[in-house]
Amino acid sequence: MTIPVRRFDAVIVGAGGSGMRASLELAQAGLRVAVLSKVFPTRSHTVAAQGGIGAAIGNMGEDHWIWHMYDTIKGSDYLGDQDAIEFMCRMAPEAVYELEHYGMPFDRNENGTVYQRPFGGHSANFGEKPVQRSVCAADRTGHAMLHTLYQQNVRAKTQFFVEWMALDLVRDAAGRVLGVTALEMETGEMALFHAKATLFATGGAGRIFHSSTNAFINTGDGLGMAARAGIPLEDMEFWQFHPTGVAGAGILITEGVRGEGGYLLNKDGERFMERYAPNMKDLASRDVVSRAMATEIKEGRGLGEHGDYVLLKLDHLGLETIEKRLPGIREIAIKFANVDPVKDPIPVVPTVHYQMGGIPTNYHGEVVSWSGERDTPIAGFYAAGECGCASIHGANRLGTNSLTDLLVIGRSAGRAMIEFIRSEGQALPELPKDAAEPSRERVGRLDSPAGGEDVNEVRNEIQRTMQAHCGVFRFPDLLAQGVARIKAVAERAKRTQIKDKSRVFNTARIEALELDNLMEVARASMISAAAREESRGAHDRADHPKRDDVNWLKHTLWHREGDRLTYKPVHLKPLTVDTFQPKARVY
């Protein structure tokens, strides 16, 4: 049986910020681009970003891209690639102005320029004091940005395939990428999207953890597809715990609350961040603040029945500021924490939020393969946004830099794809025989009548294992047990089954297919974490409490085949300026 083949110049998987920034570039260039998304584009997880976009446009006072670059490198605990970081920080102002021209409803200053707020880890003059660098639309920046990008794509007549789930990457014998197989959710029909260039913009996989700020859809589909196609995943041990998730609910409370002047308190009413980060206090990097909170809780200074949360106080900002700058936060706190932050502090706890690692790319969004000596682009394959690893965020991402990354790398990936497609000429490279076979097998197993493992139970086991064995603080024995548990659940995941056999909008089937992707990401994360014997950024090892630049200033590459790990060097050389040499990280 053959499946329908649709042909395009480019296929983009994912319609969040990076996917739609790239598709806009391609559509405006007059190329035929198909954007596949599991959900209607404005439902993508970019919609949930709150606090802002980091760009040194200096509307509130002196600022320079090189200060932003320094902060990002320091924030990354020196694991970020300095060429990619320089590129992002230099391009950020232009990307923000572009977005403004697209109609983004940014908050404004009296003089009509775009307002900027302070954010964690962003400083003036190489760490001297906090700086106002984050452009925003109240605390709905991601929502405003995602809708703006969708609107411009409507204008550019981008072709969307809404509620199509990509299943597997298609490569030929030479390793070149030729598109994806995908499933139309409404009909249950499969098709092959054949293209000269393929971009993964599928977001992160925060749903491998039990408690996460992430949407249900964040199942790491791009990472799973890449891993199954033999592409290693980079730096998957680095998972960001956002300091302020609503206790018990996991819903994100933006760092913008602290940017606007909110702060954290323990049960003694102490503003404890003053002890951990005397200079930046509550605006230190997220890894630093999350560890401080977890320490306070561990040492008995948490609140609540189980002493397992701390408080985020913002009532002193006043009703007017909260209504103007943080209206969404007030809405969330009232709904999910039963407190009105105008009067009372919000109970918060560090919660999994962002995946620093991903599919290895350079700053053009080209997916690269490490030969042992150099990175070589894999022809026809690109990744951007949270699923890609450029690596800008290294071991810890700064707040606001995720949206900056989406815009800058989304655009540069779009441009690199245009150049590649134009250099390719008219003909599409030939598809290998049986290109859709692996996908057909995966779907076919779920359609078969045989009983097997329950999808919910297997997913719960993954989430519980990651949460218990790979948290804010990591211990060698727990990591080793975690690896064994994850390998055991991986065996169960091969035998998942569903009861629903309907062809029409079968969401049980979608969840089972997503589970295959979650499984790959969880394996990569646990195995990479167990191997890294140092503490850097978000990866904190009790048995190796210090950063070890002699042995571990390098990127991890996890290979699915045999769970093999290799390593590659960090790009310490920026594009035009001098290297920022690794030094002790103090906030």
């Binding site: 404005t42 439902r43 021209h101 404004r108 009509g112 320029t113 018990g248 009861k499 029409v504 909008f505």
Partner: protein
């Protein structure tokens, strides 16, 4: 807790029917979506859309005890039992709680929902005063969940001709933007017995909007602009 959910799978059902579920609600089940996710774990054939689970993506709009709402921000303790759950009314049902939103998005697209400015862009941002920017508050926050349009009798009768409250709210969002230079074309595009004037100010849209927005007010502002333009 008792739930009565409308089910329909065109693969095997001749027509929609109700199925009852009795679920022991735990301390972590705060919102209706929490309960629906647990029901789905027991009966994997229940189909619904959901994503952000915090009221910003607009996926899980449905008719809950007669009112269009988002399941993820509807508290279980506030619901009368049995909780009767239906798909959004007025749109074709694909399966269970999933409706075909083609018509809804077609109307949204018909208002040309994007800023157009005929002047070449400056090197930096276009300037906009805080007052001008405030004009967009209450408009840009729309999440396109369709609670409003599918609560509107005028949209039920003429979904192909009447833009509907969601589309009109967005139409006004671009009219109100000081950076947009196409106000006249935008008004032309709405000056039609159906597209705008099918609104009979029933105000269901205001009543159901989960983000507290007011499409009815936006519609009246468009009417005022059209009236001013006529004199």
């Amino acid at each position: 807790m008792k739930f009565r959910i409308q089910r329909y799978d065109p693969d095997k059902d001749a027509k929609p029917y109700f199925r009852d579920y009795d679920l022991e609600v735990g301390p972590t089940d705060r919102m209706l979506l929490d309960a629906l996710v647990r029901i789905k774990a027991l009966d994997d054939s229940l189909a619904l859309r959901r994503s952000c689970r915090e009221g910003v993506c607009g996926s899980d709009a449905m008719n809950i005890n007669g009112k269009n709402q988002l399941a993820c921000v509807t508290k279980l303790v506030d619901l009368k039992e049995p909780v009767v759950i239906r798909p959004l009314p007025g749109l074709p049902i694909i399966r269970d709680l999933i409706v075909d939103m083609t018509q809804f998005f077609a109307q949204y697209h018909s208002v040309k929902p994007y800023v157009v400015n005929d002047e070449p862009p400056p090197e930096r941002e276009r300037l906009q005063s805080p007052r001008e920017r405030e004009e967009l508050d209450g408009l840009y926050e729309c999440i396109l969940c369709a609670c409003c349009s599918t609560a509107c009798p005028s949209f039920w009768w003429n979904p192909d001709k009447f833009v509907g409250p969601a589309g009109l709210l967005q139409a006004y969002r671009f009219i109100a933007d000081s950076r947009d230079t196409r106000t006249n074309e935008r008004l032309d595009n709405l000056e039609d017995p159906y597209r705008l004037f099918r609104c009979h100010t029933i105000m269901n849209c205001v009543d159901v909007c989960p983000k507290g927005l007011n499409p009815s007010l936006a519609i009246s502002k468009i009417r005022t602009l059209l009236a001013k333009r006529a004199v």
